[in-house]
Amino acid sequence: MKSSPLAETANRNVGSKVDAEGGHAAFSRLTSLWTLYVLTLRQHLHGKRWMVMAGLFVLSAGLVVLVRATAVNVAPRQLEFIIAFMFIPQAILPLLALVYASGIVRDEQEEQTMTYLLIRPIPKWALYLVKLLATLTTTVVLVAALTVLIYVAIYAGAESGQNDVTMRCLKAIGIHSLAVVTYCCLFGLISLLTNRALIVGILYAALFEGLLANMPFSIRLATVIYYTRLIAYRSLDFITTMNARGMAIANDIAAEAWQLDVKADPGLTEHPQIRACITVLLTASLVFSAIAAFLFAYREFYVKTPEKT
C-alpha cells in the first residue's frame, strides 16, 4: 500500500523515533530554545518599535548638533554629560526598556500567537527567559548604536583625543547597556504583575528614577540610575573648566548634578564602588528575571476565541 506524505514523514523523519520514555530521541531542547531566540529577534525586527526608537535616537543626535551649532561655548564634555549621562539614562533608556520588555508577553497575547509557543516542548520558565534574553540583545544593540551616534554627534570635528573619546564611548555603552538590562528585567516583571505595564513603567521611570534618584537620600540606593551614575562618575571624569575673571576654574558638573557631596567626601567612601554597583544591578536583574520566570511558569494565558472577543 502506498503511504501518504504524512506517513512518510512519520517513517523517515530522523526525529520521529520514539524512545522508551515516549520522547523523541532526535529532538533537541537546545534547538527549540535557539529557534525561539531567533524568532523573538525576528519579531523585534518586524515590529515598528525599533523604527520609533531609531527616530528618537536621531532626534537626540539632532539635538546635539543643534546645541553645537548654536551654543559654541558649550564644551563637548559638558554636552556629553548632559546628553549621554543625563538625558539618555533618564529618558531614553527606561523608555526603550519599557517599550520592549512590556511586550515580551503582551505582544504574543495580543497577537494570539502565544499558543504556538506554549504547545512546544519548551518549559514555560525557559520560554520567558529566552524571550527576555532576545529582548536584552535587541535593546543592548540599540543602545550601543544610539551611544555611538551620540558620541559621533558630540565629538565629530571637536578637539579631543580620538582614543580618549573611543574609550569614553565604550564605557558609556557598557554603562547604558547595564542600565537597560536592569530596566528590561524590571519592566518584564512588572508586565507580568499588571496589565497596565506601560503606565506603571512610565510612572516608575518618572517618579522613582527621575525624582527620587535626584534626591540626596538613601532611597536612591533603590534606583537603577543611582548605580549607573556612580559607575559613570567613578570611571569617567566630568570636570570642565570655566573661565571666570580671567581664572580657569574646574567644575565637577556630575557631582553637582547628581547630588554627590565630593567636598565633604572626596573619595565618595559612603557610596558603593564600581564592582559593588555592577553586582547590585546584575543581581537585581537576575532576581527580577527569576521571579518573572516563576510567575510565567505558573500563569495561565487565556486565548481569545472569536466568540469571546
Binding site: S4, Q43, T305
Partner: protein, 308 residues
C-alpha cells in the same frame, strides 16, 4: 486499554464563570468528535488537554501523563488552535519550518518535515507566499500543518473547518480522516454536527461545561428514546387525529400546528408509536398524508441532549 486523554472530575472556572464542570472523560485512541454549541467548553477542554490551562479541580492526563507544565509531553501532541492567528509576516514555509524547529527538530529533519507536511495539506504551491495574503482555507491548512509537522501521536483540532469554503472543508476532512487511518489519535472539536458525523462515529457532546453524552453515534442515538421524540403527522383532520392519539399511554403531548394542517406528537416510545400508527388509518379512516420526524438526524439528537 489506557485512554489517550483522561479527564477526572475536572472543573475549570474563570472567576465566577464556569468553563468546565466536573467533567470525567476517557477518550480512546482514534478519531473522536467533540461537539457542543458555542460556549459549551470545547476550547477550554482542549486548552486543558494541551496544558495551556490549569484545572481548577480534578486531574487531566494525556497519554497517561499529567499535562500542566509538562513540556516534554508537547513533543507527542499537536494542537491546531481555533484562533486565526499567525506570525503574519512569515511565509507558509517559514512558519511551518519554525514550528518544526521550535519542536526541537534538527535543520535537515525540519526542512524535510516541512516539505512533506506542506505537501500533505496541499500548501506546497503557496509555501513561498506571506501568510498575511492567505485565504481562510489556506490559513486553516497552515494551522493544521504546524500541528502535524513534528509528527505527534495525538492531535487536538479546535474547530478546524470553521470559515472554510466547501472545497477546503472537503480537503481538510479528507486529511483528518487520513490522519485517523494512519493511526493518529485525533480529537476534533466542532459545533456543526454533520462535519463531525462525517469524520467519526465516536463523539462527545458538551454543553455548559458538562458532559451531555459520549460514545458511538449509535449509542448516542439510543439515548433518544429516553427523551421526548417529536413526530409530525400531516393530515386534514388534525384535531380529530390529535384527540385519538392523545388517548395512547406512550404519547406525552400533542400540539396542533399553527397552519392547522398537522400535529406534532411527543412520545418516549417512537417505535411503538410508529407500529400503532397504521391502525388509525385503517380503523378510523383518517388519511395521514405525511409522517416525518426531525429526530432522525444527529442534529436533533444533539438538540435534545443539550437542551435537557
Amino acid at each position: 486499554m489506557t485512554p489517550i486523554v483522561e479527564f477526572h472530575e475536572v472543573s475549570k472556572w474563570y472567576g465566577n464563570v464556569i468553563g468546565i464542570n466536573k467533567l470525567s472523560l476517557r477518550i480512546p485512541a482514534g478519531v473522536t468528535g467533540l461537539l457542543g454549541p458555542n460556549g459549551a467548553g470545547k476550547s477550554t477542554l482542549l486548552q486543558l488537554a494541551t496544558g495551556q490551562l490549569y484545572a481548577s479541580q480534578g486531574r487531566v492526563r494525556v497519554l497517561g501523563q499529567p499535562v500542566w507544565n509538562n513540556s516534554s509531553l508537547n513533543r507527542l501532541i499537536g494542537l491546531c488552535p481555533e484562533q486565526d492567528a499567525f506570525y503574519e509576516w512569515m511565509t507558509g514555509w517559514d512558519f511551518i519550518h519554525t514550528s518544526a524547529r521550535l519542536a526541537g527538530m534538527g535543520r535537515r529533519a525540519a526542512r524535510e518535515a516541512t516539505e512533506r507536511t506542506l505537501d500533505a495539506v496541499g500548501m506546497t504551491p503557496h509555501k513561498g507566499r506571506a501568510i498575511r495574503g492567505y485565504s481562510k482555507g489556506m490559513r486553516q491548512r497552515t494551522k493544521l500543518a504546524q500541528a502535524l509537522v513534528h509528527d505527534p501521536k495525538v492531535l487536538f483540532l479546535d474547530e478546524p473547518l470553521t470559515g472554510t469554503d466547501p472545497l477546503a472543508r472537503h480537503d481538510l476532512m479528507t486529511i483528518i480522516q487520513r490522519l485517523g487511518n494512519e493511526g493518529k489519535s485525533v480529537l476534533v472539536s466542532s459545533h456543526v454536527l454533520h462535519e463531525v458525523q462525517t469524520l467519526t462515529p465516536n463523539i462527545i457532546l458538551l454543553n455548559h461545561g458538562r458532559l451531555v453524552a459520549e460514545g458511538h453515534i449509535r449509542q448516542i442515538r439510543d439515548l433518544i428514546d429516553k427523551h421526548p421524540h417529536h413526530i409530525v403527522l400531516i393530515c386534514d383532520e388534525c384535531r380529530k387525529l390529535a384527540g385519538r392519539i392523545l388517548a395512547w399511554d406512550d404519547v406525552e403531548g400533542v400540539r396542533v400546528r399553527a397552519d392547522q394542517k398537522g400535529i406534532m406528537v411527543e412520545t418516549r416510545a417512537p417505535d411503538a408509536f410508529y407500529s400503532r400508527l397504521p391502525s388509525i388509518c385503517l380503523e378510523d379512516g383518517m388519511a395521514i398524508q405525511e409522517v416525518y420526524s426531525n429526530d432522525d438526524s444527529l442534529e436533533s439528537v444533539f438538540k435534545y441532549l443539550v437542551s435537557k
